[in-house]
């Protein structure tokens, strides 16, 4: 049963890259938000101590 099955091969690699890139983008965005929130929280903490 030698067949090219190109559609399935392309689908497999496409699914792989969609999952990897989607997760990568999610991590980068979530990381940026998390760091911004951390810096805001620390700034707020500092202001509270000074007041």
């Amino acid at each position: 049963m030698i067949a090219s099955n190109q559609t399935f091969i392309i689908a497999a690699y496409a699914v792989t890259w969609v999952v990897i890139l989607a997760y990568l983008v999610r991590l980068v965005r979530k990381g940026g938000r998390a760091r911004a929130e951390y810096e805001r929280a620390v700034q707020h903490q500092r202001e509270e101590r000074q007041s």
Partner: protein, 238 residues
């Protein structure tokens, strides 16, 4: 910088940024490894070019196993030492592992349709892999719904250990039971024409895995440090 602020309870230090270079290098390595495998591997005698799906499906399954092994190690460490960072690292590996587990299932279905004539069969390998996926989806749901940090860490460590115990069952399922799924593919069981491609793709995906877990762990620590800072303000104001 927060480290210079005098305080009785400074909370956990912010984690260092995970290098974007590691992400770029790992993704580039994966592109190179896949290109090499696609261009150089000959068609298989039985499956023809469909064999090329192996270079993404098998490494994805291995990364699932490695992630859940990390969950096991750091869950046990958390239960033993009760250190928060062990819990956060286990949770980070669980999320990344569940992602690779889902990918493995999808790739298996794409391979199964032309190879077996069906998208899905309730055989031992496929079913045990699905059970593994559902356990770790449950692990992540549990973490999302339990607010108390100690309780969340203890319960998820227990689920993480139980889930990881399923990994050897998944791996051995094709040996222990008669399955539609073929025996495990590894450099030891493959023709020499395919081993280099499989090794390169596994190493490249391992770099991606390391980047993902490090980045997710960095985020988890940042979120926890933010909670600590907010708690410190609330305590000071009360």
């Amino acid at each position: 910088m927060p480290a210079s602020t005098p305080s009785n309870d400074p909370g956990p230090a912010p984690p260092p940024r995970t290098s974007l270079w590691l992400g770029l290098v790992s993704v580039s390595a994966l592109v190179a490894a896949q290109t090499h495998a696609i261009l150089t591997s000959p068609p298989d005698a039985d499956m023809g070019h469909l064999q090329k799906i192996m270079y993404v499906h098998v490494p994805a399954a291995w990364m699932t196993f490695i992630s859940f092994f990390v969950v096991l190690v750091f869950s046990v460490r958390y239960l033993w030492r009760r250190r928060e960072n062990d819990d956060l690292l286990a949770a980070s590996a669980a999320e990344v592992g569940a992602t690779f587990n889902g990918l493995t299932l999808m790739l298996g279905m794409i391979w199964g349709r032309p190879a077996w004539g069906v998208w899905w069969a309730w055989d031992a390998r496929l079913t045990s892999t699905l059970v593994l996926f559902l356990i770790f989806v449950g692990y992540l749901a549990l973490r999302a719904f339990v607010d108390d940090t100690d309780q969340r860490a203890r319960w998820s460590a227990a689920v993480g250990v139980i889930g990881a115990i399923n990994v050897p069952i998944v791996y051995m399922s094709v040996t222990w039971w008669r399955t539609l799924h073929q025996p495990p593919s590894s450099p030891a069981t493959l023709d020499a024409a395919y081993t280099l491609g499989l090794r390169l793709n596994a190493i490249a995906l391992l770099l991606v895995l390391i980047y993902f877990i490090r980045k997710r762990y960095e985020i988890a620590r940042l979120e926890r440090a933010t909670e600590h800072a907010a708690e410190a303000v609330a305590m000071g104001g009360s």
